[in-house]
């Protein structure tokens, strides 16, 4: 990232701090659902309802008064989202990364000296990030079919240090179902601030959005990595309107958008 880009991003972040709440101080929960293809999806939670699909979330260690600890974001699948006889689990998809101002670097190279790590725990179960992906554990869908869970996140210091380095840390996760009719989610990321500043935290979130979570398939509205019937249905149901389906941002879902979708038909590349 060059200097002018960084300056521009700083400007955008500062502007946003005064004018909107795109990346507000509140750490929202991670909404969980399944799309039409049966793939688990993650969403923003707004006003007590699932919002748009979202794959980048934020957290701040110390938000409940314990410096190296947070129980946010939680996971929120609303009642009846899943069958209560099944479970939903998570995996840590990659090592813990730390923001270097231009991207993320690995904290733990796998040698004898450990870098910072994040431990995720729930009651008597826990797993910790490592230099390789780590299998997580599953939690039961609740009797009402919801899945509202707050796991505990603790950041652990590097070997030989009493406290972790202040920084912005990146945790990559995926959710997996035990219900065979559903499939594992795409990766999603939690950008975690440990004793660092808000601007870096927000810059890091923007970087993750742009570089890791950007959808390579703008016509894949349901994020199942396939441009298919459900995406076509989205266009048709919004035909003549605006919003989802308006691929070219013309303000209208129309024939141009339909042609774009049809030209991208099939598996996302």
């Amino acid at each position: 990232m060059n200097k002018s880009t960084t300056n521009f991003l700083c400007f955008i972040v500062l502007l946003g701090a005064f004018t909107s709440n795109i990346f507000g101080q509140h750490v929202g929960d991670i909404g969980v659902d399944a799309n039409a293809a049966g793939r688990l999806t993650t969403h923003i939670v707004a006003d007590g309802a699932l919002g748009e699909p979202r794959r980048v979330f934020s957290a701040r260690f110390g938000d409940t008064g314990v410096a190296n600890f947070t129980a946010n974001p939680g996971f929120d699948a609303f009642p009846s989202a899943f069958h209560p006889s099944f479970r939903i689990g998570f995996n840590m998809r990659s090592p813990l990364l730390v923001w270097n101002g231009n991207g993320f670097s690995q904290t733990d190279s796998g040698g004898s000296t450990l870098g910072e790590r994040v431990k995720m725990s729930f009651l008597t179960a826990n797993v910790t990030t490592a230099a390789v992906p780590v299998a997580g554990f599953s939690l039961a869908v609740q009797p009402d079919g919801g899945w509202h869970r707050h796991l505990s996140f603790s950041i652990l210091p590097a070997s030989g240090f009493a406290t972790p380095d202040a920084g912005i840390y990146l945790l990559e996760l995926e959710l997996w179902p035990t219900d065979p009719s559903l499939s594992t989610s795409e990766s999603f990321w939690i950008v975690m601030n440990y004793a660092s500043n808000t601007i870096d935290h927000e810059l890091a979130q923007i970087w993750v959005e742009d570089n890791l979570a950007a959808n390579p398939c703008p016509t894949d509205f349901d994020h199942d990595r396939i441009v298919g019937g459900s995406d076509l249905a989205t266009i048709l149901s919004n035909w003549g309107g605006s919003g989802t389906g308006d691929i070219d941002s013309s303000g209208l879902v129309d024939g141009v958008d339909l042609a774009t979708l049809l030209s991208a038909w099939g598996v996302c590349q």
């Binding site: 609303f78 009651l123 509202h148």
Partner: protein, 214 residues
């Protein structure tokens, strides 16, 4: 009058137990417990003091629970959740003291338990939704027996006076009917009834009048 009506509504609501989270708020400078639907972020009963929960709802964690959670609107306040020493168990008609198990309530590395008390503190942030970890342990490493257990808590803060006691009624392996009966008993026998409140308020106001006359 408002208090009396609210108390009556609270009592009526909890005649039929339901699963809700707790909520800490303040009124008249004192912390209060309430019941809260965290899905819709609405207060169900502003005077609730009895909360039901189940150990082992997830069979992978037979002696643990993360419910009830707690919300709060006291943004920026640090609140202590205190576990009061003394565990009770349901004998079919009332709660009686029980010393063969202990319930631990833990959050962020700090904990209290029903054997010796203690607790933890938390800072209330925006959209606050705290879910402590609750564990039940038998004495001498033996698994705790199935039963319905009563845990007493209060909330304190440097900015408010300490709440009245509120209670968690945990079910470990017993029927929902028994759990419901135990919750009903706690509401009827531990929480002051509307009539009791009226009497208390009446006595309090008379005491005030007597003091003024003196």
């Amino acid at each position: 009058m408002t208090t009396v009506i609210a108390s009556f509504l609270g009592y009526a609501t909890f005649a039929s137990p339901q699963h809700v989270d707790g909520y800490i708020w303040a009124q008249g400078g004192q912390l209060q417990s309430a019941s809260w639907d965290d899905t819709t972020d609405t207060i169900v009963d502003s005077t609730a003091r009895v909360f039901g929960a189940d150990f082992g709802e997830d069979p992978f964690f037979p002696f643990a629970s993360e419910d009830p959670g707690f919300g709060s609107n006291l943004l920026g306040s640090t609140i202590n959740l205190n576990v009061l020493a003394g565990l009770s168990s349901w004998n079919g008609s009332e709660f009686v003291s029980f010393t063969n198990a202990s319930v631990i309530v833990e959050f962020g590395g700090a904990a209290g338990n029903t054997t010796s008390g203690g607790g933890f503190s938390f800072l209330v942030g925006e959209g606050f939704d705290l879910h402590p970890s609750y564990f039940i342990e038998g004495m001498s490493g033996i698994d705790p027996a199935n039963g319905i257990y009563l845990v007493s808590l209060n909330a304190s803060s440097s900015s408010y006076s300490t709440s009245n006691t509120f209670w968690l009624v945990f079910n470990l392996g017993e029927s929902e009917a028994d759990h419901d009966a135990a919750i009903d008993w706690a509401n009827a026998n531990l929480v002051p009834t509307p009539a009791g409140l009226i009497a208390m308020l009446g006595g309090f106001s008379m005491a005030l009048r007597r003091r003024r006359r003196n």
